[in-house]
Amino acid sequence: MSRIMTGARMVIEALRDQGVDTVFGYPGGAVLPIYDELFQQNDITHVLVRHEQGAVHMAEGYARSTGKPGVVLVTSGPGATNAVTGLTDALMDSIPLVVLSGQVPTFLIGTDGFQEADTVGITRPCTKHNWLVKDTADLSATIHKAFHVATSGRPGPVLIDIPKDVQFAEDAYQGPKQIDPPRYQPVRKGSVTAITRLVELIEQAERPILYTGGGVVNSGPGASQLLRELADATGIPVTSTLMGLGAYPASGKNWIGMLGMHGLYEANLAMHGCDLMINIGARFDDRITGRIAEFSPDSVKAHIDIDPSSINKVIHVDIPIIGDVGHVLEDLLKIWKSRGRKVNTAALGKWWEQIEGWKSKNCLFYRNSDTIIKPQFALQRLEALTKGRDRYVATEVGQHQMWAAQFLHFDEPNRWMTSGGLGTMGYGLPASIGVQMAHPEALVINVAGDASWLMNMQEMGTAVQFRLPVKQFILNNERLGMVRQWQQLLHGERYSQSWSDSLPDFVKLAEAFGCKGAQVQDPKDLDDAIQQMIDYDGPFILDVLVEKHENCFPMIPSGKPHNEMLLGDAETQGAIQGAGAALV
C-alpha cells in the first residue's frame, strides 16, 4: 500500500524512519515547506542555530558523541554555502552527517534565481556524496540511500539538495525496507591471510607499537573493547592520534600518550624506534609522520583501514589490511589466541624499560607560577575537578587544543570532540552544543582559546535558547597563540597580526546572551572559579586569563623526524638522564 504525500512530508517521514531525533538548522525561503511539516510534528526536535556553520558543527558534535549520523537542515544559496566549512571538516575527520539543503524550484535552476547557488557543484569536493533530487518520486529513496552512504565504510558527510517544487509535489513514500539494497557496500572483513601474517609478526616482534586513530572510535564501542583486549593481552604499548583519544583508556597500563607534532616524547620515540608498527584506523597524517624519509626507519608496518585509498597514500606499508577495525581486530584476536597467545616476552620487557626511560623525561613539564595562571595548570585543575564525572570535552583549534589533548585524560571513546584534519577554529562551541543536545545530563565542556571562540560565538544564543548548560572554558591569552608560537620559532619573532586587539569583556558578553560568566586571573582563585562553572545550572563562560607567551611543547618542528623534538621547559630540567637524552 503506497502512501501519497508531499515531498516536504516525505523528508520528515524518512528522518523518523531513520531514527532521527534531532535536526540542527536554519529556515529560509527554499525550505519553508519542510519547516511547515516540522511545525506539525513532535518526534523530531529542531535546534535553531544562529549561523549554518554552527549547525554543521553541532551535528558533528552530536554524531561524534553518539555514533549516530548528525542531521542538518539549511536553505538554498547562502544557507548551503555557509555549511561548506562544516562539511569539509566532517569529510576530513570521517564524521557521518546528512545535510538537507533547499534549492530554488527546478524550473528556476540555472537562471541565477534569488538565493540560487550550484550547491551540489560547490559541495561535491567536500562531501562523500551528494544528490540533487529533481523528482518527488525519488526523494524518499534518496534520503534512505544518503543515510546508508554516510554511515557505511569510512563515514562522511552527504548532502541532499531539494528544490522547492519537489517539496510541494506529491508522490508515493517509500520506507527504508522498500527500496532496493544500495549498490555501495564497502568491504568490512579483512583478508585472513594478511591478518595471519600480522599475528606471526606480533608473536616475534621485539619492539611493537599500536598506533591507533579515529577509525577505532568510528568503528563503534566494540572496536574500542577489542583494542583494549588486544593491548592488554599482548602487552603492546598503545599510542593514539588526536582523533583516537579515548579508544584505549588514558588510565590503561599500556597507554603511552598521544603522538604527533605535539605528542608525548615517549610516544614519538617509541614510534621512531619500534620494529613493528600496527596502524589501526589512522592515516599517517603529516602532523603524525613529520619528515617522511626518516619516519620510523626500522619498522615493519601494518595498516588496518576501511578506506583502500588510505593504504600507501603517504607511507608505504608492508601489510595492508582493508576492513573495518572492529571486524579485523576480532579476527586478529581469534587467530592470535588459536595459535597459542604467543608474544616475545623477554624482548617486550626490554622495550618497556626503554619506554619508561623516555617517560622519565617528563616531557609535559612546565614552570608553574604563583602569580599567573599557566594554561597547562588550568587544564590540570579542570581535569582534577571533573575527573570521574560523566564528562564530554570539545575544543576549538590552536594551543589550547593541544594542551587539552595532553593534560585531559579520556577513558572512553566518543568523549572527545575536536577538529583534527581541517583544524577549524570555531568548531568547539557549536560542537559542545551538539553534544549537550545528545547528552542532556552530562557535563559538557568546550576548552577554547579567545580567538577561536569568537569565530562562532553567536551560538551562545542557541545554548541559552535551548537551556543547554555548556561550559565555555576560555584560555584567554589575548593572542592567536599557535600562530604567535610559530612566528616566534620560525619567523624571527615578527608577530604579524597574531594579537587579539579589542577583545570583548567575556563576562558582560555572557550577561548579554542571558547566561553567566566569570573571569579568573589569580592561580589561587582558579579552583573556585572552575567549581562555580561546573555547579552553575546553565551555560557558563569562564574567562581564564592565562600567561600570554606560553609555548606548547613538546613539538616536532615541521619537516623534522620524531627524534628531533623540541622539549621546552623539560629540556632545562637537567635532573633527567637516560638513554633517550642522547636523542634530543
Binding site: 557543484g121 555501495y184 609478526l201 624519509a293 620510523s296 608492508d318
Partner: protein, 186 residues
C-alpha cells in the same frame, strides 16, 4: 626487525616528493572506469584529478548500458607507480563508481582512437595527402576542390604519425576522440 626477515617498507620519499617526476619514472596507464550514469559523475571523476593534482592525458565517456544506467569512462593518465595506485584507489571510493580496471596492468588490451583531419591544399600537395591517406587506410568523409576531411581509426601513435605527415600538406583542423579501450580475450 632483522629477526623477522622481511623487507622494510618505509618509502624514502617525502609526501611532497611523491609526485616529483624526477623521483621515479612516470608511467602511462589506461584505466577503464565503469560508473553509474547519474548527473555529475563525470564532474566527480574530473574533480578528483584536478583536486589531487593528477594528470589526465585523454578521456572519453559514453553510456554503454542504457537499462543498467552504466557509463564507461576510458582515461589515459600518467604518474609514478605510487601515484597510479593512489588514483585507482581514489577512483574506487567514489560512490557511483562500480569498477576500476587498469588495462595497462591487467593484460593485453586493444586501444583505438578516431580522428578527423581537415587538410586544405591544391596541386601536388593535395595528391600527396590523398596518397598518404591511402597508406594509412584513412577514409575521405568530405571533399571540396580545395580540401579533404580524412577519418582515421587507430592507436593514438598512429594518429600522431598521420597528423605529423599531414601538417606540411595543409592540415588545418584536427579533432580526436581520445582513447577507447577493452581488454583482449574473455
Amino acid at each position: 626487525m632483522n629477526a623477522l626477515n622481511i623487507q622494510k617498507g618505509a618509502s624514502s620519499h617525502s609526501a611532497y616528493d611523491l609526485r616529483d617526476p624526477n623521483a621515479q619514472v612516470e608511467e602511462s596507464h589506461t584505466l577503464a572506469v565503469l560508473v553509474e550514469n547519474e548527473p555529475g559523475v563525470l564532474a566527480r571523476v574530473i574533480g578528483l584529478f584536478s583536486g589531487r593534482g593528477y594528470n589526465i592525458d585523454s578521456l572519453t565517456v559514453a553510456e554503454v548500458d542504457h537499462t543498467g544506467h552504466q557509463s564507461r569512462i576510458t582515461m589515459v593518465t600518467s604518474g609514478t607507480p605510487a601515484v597510479i595506485e593512489q588514483i585507482k584507489a581514489q577512483l574506487g571510493r567514489i560512490v557511483p563508481v562500480h569498477e576500476v580496471h587498469d588495462l595497462t596492468v591487467e593484460g593485453p588490451a586493444v586501444e583505438r582512437e578516431l580522428g578527423l583531419f581537415k587538410v586544405c591544399g591544391q596541386g601536388d600537395k593535395r595528391v600527396e595527402a590523398l596518397r598518404i591517406a591511402e597508406i594509412f587506410r584513412a577514409n575521405v568523409v568530405d571533399s571540396t576542390l580545395e580540401s579533404f576531411v580524412f577519418e582515421l581509426v587507430g592507436t593514438p601513435s598512429k594518429l600522431d604519425a598521420f597528423a605529423e605527415l599531414m601538417r606540411p600538406l595543409g592540415l588545418s583542423d584536427l579533432a580526436r576522440t581520445g582513447v577507447a579501450a577493452l581488454a583482449r580475450g574473455i
